[in-house]
């Protein structure tokens, strides 16, 4: 399936793009992260410490073991600092 992957804050900076379209058959977010991290050094650096990474699937916060069934948009970002 085709998924839009979005990056925010320092994940966006490390990877160098705010979004990319990827073809994947990953079953879970964690599987997708493994595929992305294998792409190049920048992706690997961004995903080196997963305790510092949060994720949303189709704009809903989920944890890394969430399924990707029918997902169209997956976003990765650091812990949020609103308010």
């Amino acid at each position: 399936m085709m998924i839009d992957v979005l990056y925010f804050a320092w994940l966006r900076e490390r990877i160098g793009v705010p979004r990319e379209r990827v073809e994947t058959s990953a079953a879970t977010v964690r599987d997708l992260v493994a595929e992305l991290a294998a792409r190049d050094d920048w992706h690997a650096a961004a995903f080196a410490d997963l305790t510092a990474v949060r994720c949303a699937v189709d704009q809903e916060l989920v944890d890394l073991d969430a399924a990707l069934t029918d997902a169209r948009e997956v976003a990765f970002f650091p812990p949020m600092t609103g308010g």
């Binding site: 979005l6 925010f8 804050a9 320092w10 949303a56 704009q59 916060l61 976003a75 970002f77 650091p78 812990p79 949020m80 600092t81 609103g82 308010g83």
Partner: protein, 144 residues
């Protein structure tokens, strides 16, 4: 009633025009860019368009239901905000004082660690540094 995400400043007084008719208590919170180090120029806020609006709207509706609010409002800015500028506001109108205070507190706790914003401190010398999330903000959610 409602949430808004915008780059431009907001006017608290204007937001409260006609706000909460029938309420006995209105609580507002305004967050302002503060310079603790003495060498900060601005805060730069990045957000996740689409998800942000949904998240703020959900926090407001949850607060309204839980605290039986008569009215509520959340406004959050993004972009480059100089020291002293308003960052965001919440307002809660209820029949009684306790509910209005608690609802404003509740909305703020959710905003702090569940609204998709990321802050970067811009120094007077042009350097930029991401603001780390605080464990205490995360733990504050356990109250609710």
């Amino acid at each position: 009633m409602g949430a808004r995400v915008q780059e431009q400043p907001f006017d608290l007084a204007q937001e409260l025009q006609g706000f909460g008719a029938g309420a006995g208590a209105v609580v507002t919170f305004t967050g302002i860019v503060r310079d603790d180090s003495g060498c900060m120029a601005a805060l730069e806020l990045e957000h996740y368009p689409g998800m942000t609006e949904q998240a703020l709207d959900r926090f407001g509706r949850q607060a309204a239901q839980r605290f039986d609010l008569i009215d509520w409002r959340i406004i959050h800015r993004f972009g480059r905000l100089p020291v002293g500028a308003q960052i965001m506001m919440v307002a809660a109108a209820a029949r009684h004082r306790r509910a209005a205070f608690d609802a404003a507190d509740f909305m703020m706790d959710w905003l702090k660690s569940r609204a998709p914003f990321w802050k970067r401190e811009i120094g007077q010398d042009g350097t930029a540094q991401w603001v780390a999330a605080k464990d205490s903000d995360e733990q504050a959610l356990d109250r609710w």
